[in-house]
């Protein structure tokens, strides 16, 4: 192996974002060569709408996973937030404020989950599993189980009117969150809280505050993704989102290189991970491959990434590349 390929290999192993980016590029080339429809404007819109919500929610889950927690209920906030917005508007608020109220309520829900998790020491897997059922019941109750139309107006157009609005929001927020993770104290303390909770506390870091903050952020992102999606499809659906969008977001995070064990992760990796899953799902649809195959591939991809993450970490430690 010459020096250049060795350097490239080292980069791919050391930077999980780089390997998932490479996978994405290979998939794009493959699908483009198999079907002429891939690089059309219409299909690019489809792909971007697939993975925009996964990206937004993945950003929240990545922060939580890094700090050693997880939120299973975010897919239900995705469905609930547009209804909160609707009722705020019905109560007389302008659309913008309706969105703000919905996001504040989402933040409050995240706050409650966070407080229950850190104060009572309940694993977030359990608290958010409970919250998942609770929020879903809440949505079904206040909606009566029926979908509604989204309000008209400029706010809706900005949020979800254009075909690429959702993905622009998603990428913009992902970039901002990447900077937050790598270049602010909040990001650093999130890593510390998950990497060594006792040590972080001994260094004076308020890990409860960090975790509660990240629960709030994840819920807000879930609510925001739900609102964007509602404006995009011009319908507020009580069955939108759900566990499926949450699992795909966590899958994006893990495939992108975020550890389920806490203490390490990457937002950009999550963005690329979501894009790869979106491209896969879309490419399979174009090629007429069974939708079940997508699930098989996603599942296998998660397993392989998890195993290789663990293996590479051990191997890196030994060989110090």
């Amino acid at each position: 192996m010459n020096k250049k390929t060795k350097g490239l290999l080292a980069l791919l192993l050391r930077k999980p974002e780089a390997s998932i980016l490479l996978v994405g590029i290979i998939l794009i080339i493959t699908f483009q060569s198999l079907t002429p429809d891939f690089f059309t404007n219409a299909n690019m819109q489809t792909v971007s709408q697939f993975f925009a919500p996964w990206t937004l929610i993945a950003c929240g889950e990545i922060m939580l996973l890094i700090s050693g927690e997880v939120d299973l209920s975010v897919g239900q906030v995705f469905a609930l937030a547009p209804f909160i917005m609707h009722f705020a508007i019905v109560a007389g608020l302008p659309v913008v404020l309706g969105v703000v109220v919905a996001l504040l309520v989402s933040a409050f829900l995240g706050f409650c989950i966070g407080v229950i998790t850190v104060r009572f020491g309940v694993p977030s897997f359990i608290t958010t599993l409970g919250a998942m059922l609770l929020f879903n019941g809440l949505t079904l109750t206040i909606s009566g189980g029926f979908p509604l139309d989204t309000p008209d107006g400029i706010t809706g157009v900005i949020l979800g009117g254009w075909e690429y609005s959702e993905i622009l929001w998603a990428v913009g927020i992902a970039l901002a969150m990447h900077i937050m993770l790598r270049h602010t104290r909040w990001g650093l303390h999130t890593v510390a809280a998950g990497g060594n909770p006792t040590g972080a506390a001994e260094a004076g870091i308020h890990i409860r505050r960090i975790k509660i903050g990240n629960f709030m952020m994840c819920s807000v992102l879930g609510g925001f993704a739900g609102i964007l999606n509602a404006f995009h499809v011009t319908s507020i659906d009580p069955n939108a989102g759900g566990a499926n969008v949450m699992f795909l977001a966590i899958a994006s995070a893990v495939i992108g290189g975020t550890s389920l064990l806490g203490g390490s992760g990457t937002i950009l990796g999550g963005l690329f991970g979501a894009a790869v899953l979106g491209i896969l799902q879309d490419g399979f649809t174009l090629l007429g491959i069974n939708a079940f195959t997508f699930d098989i591939i996603t599942g296998a991809a998660i397993l392989i990434t998890m195993i290789s993450n663990v293996q590479f970490a051990a191997w890196r430690r030994r060989s110090r590349i």
């Binding site: 270049h183 602010t184 650093l188 510390a192 040590g199 260094a203 430690r317």
Partner: protein, 252 residues
């Protein structure tokens, strides 16, 4: 009576965790530049004592004094503002962060008033601080999890020293370490002592090493102090004898 010459003083410290009485009333004094070695079995309460001195735990009863002034630490940060820094047994290092991020953990340098971290300055200052006390690491960008036990201990000590500690608390800095790495840490402690601007308390298990490096030693057994003396007047055999006596008493 309070002695303003004491960098740190503890009076009759007790600590109870629910039903466990970890400390039964321990007192100690530490002059500027002085080093105290604390010896004792596992579970004796040594770490608990350190965590009280560093503001991590509040004592159940008892007093702490810094330069003769009574203090009540409300947090680690509060104790730190009095120049008291602790290197805990678990080192409080985050394996997945770089050396320089760990060196500045929770006292990060930012670009002016902006929320953004000044990585460059932290990198440079970390490298300088490590060089200042003679600690070698491959690179300050290296993840701490990649380093050896001795290197990790040295980084934790360097972190405490570089924050202008007046009193440095070291909880078992020589544990789980080979002879060569332990030698490196002892040499580091001796260099710090020679500079004379910091007082030290070190918990250790090796009597000879402790008597050699510390000015005075103290034996803690089951939450009480069973021996105190100047290192120069104390022998390893004397310390072993105390432990034997304690075992015989416990067996009866």
């Amino acid at each position: 009576m309070s002695d303003t010459n004491h960098a740190l003083e503890a009076r009759n410290i007790t600590k109870r965790f629910g039903r466990v009485q970890a400390l039964h009333g321990i007192s100690l004094t530490l002059k500027p530049g002085e080093m105290l070695g604390i010896l004792g079995d596992n579970g004796a309460g040594k770490s608990t004592l350190m965590k009280i001195l560093s503001g991590y735990h509040a004592p159940t009863t008892g007093e702490l004094l810094v330069k003769g002034e009574q203090v009540e630490f409300t947090s680690v940060d509060h104790a730190r503002s009095f120049g008291i820094e602790c290197v805990y047994q678990d080192l409080a290092l985050v394996n997945t962060l770089s050396v320089y991020h760990n060196m500045f953990l929770n006292r990060e340098v930012r670009h002016g008033a902006s929320p953004f971290l000044n990585h460059k300055e932290m990198r440079e200052r970390a490298a300088a601080a490590l060089e200042d006390i003679g600690v070698n690491v491959p690179s300050v960008d290296e993840e701490v999890g990649m380093l050896s036990g001795g290197q990790r201990q040295a980084i934790a000590i360097a972190r405490a020293v570089s924050s202008n500690a007046r009193v440095l608390l070291l909880d078992e800095p020589l544990a789980a370490m080979g002879a060569r790495e332990a030698g490196m840490i002892i040499a580091l402690i001796e260099r710090l002592k020679a500079r004379g601007d910091v007082s030290l308390i070190m918990i250790a298990h090796n009597y000879a090493q402790t008597l050699d490096v510390a000015d005075k030693v103290m034996m803690v057994q089951r939450g009480t102090c069973t021996f105190e003396g100047r290192s120069a007047d104390t022998s390893v055999l004397e310390l072993l004898d105390i432990v034997k006596r304690e075992y015989r008493a416990a067996a009866q």
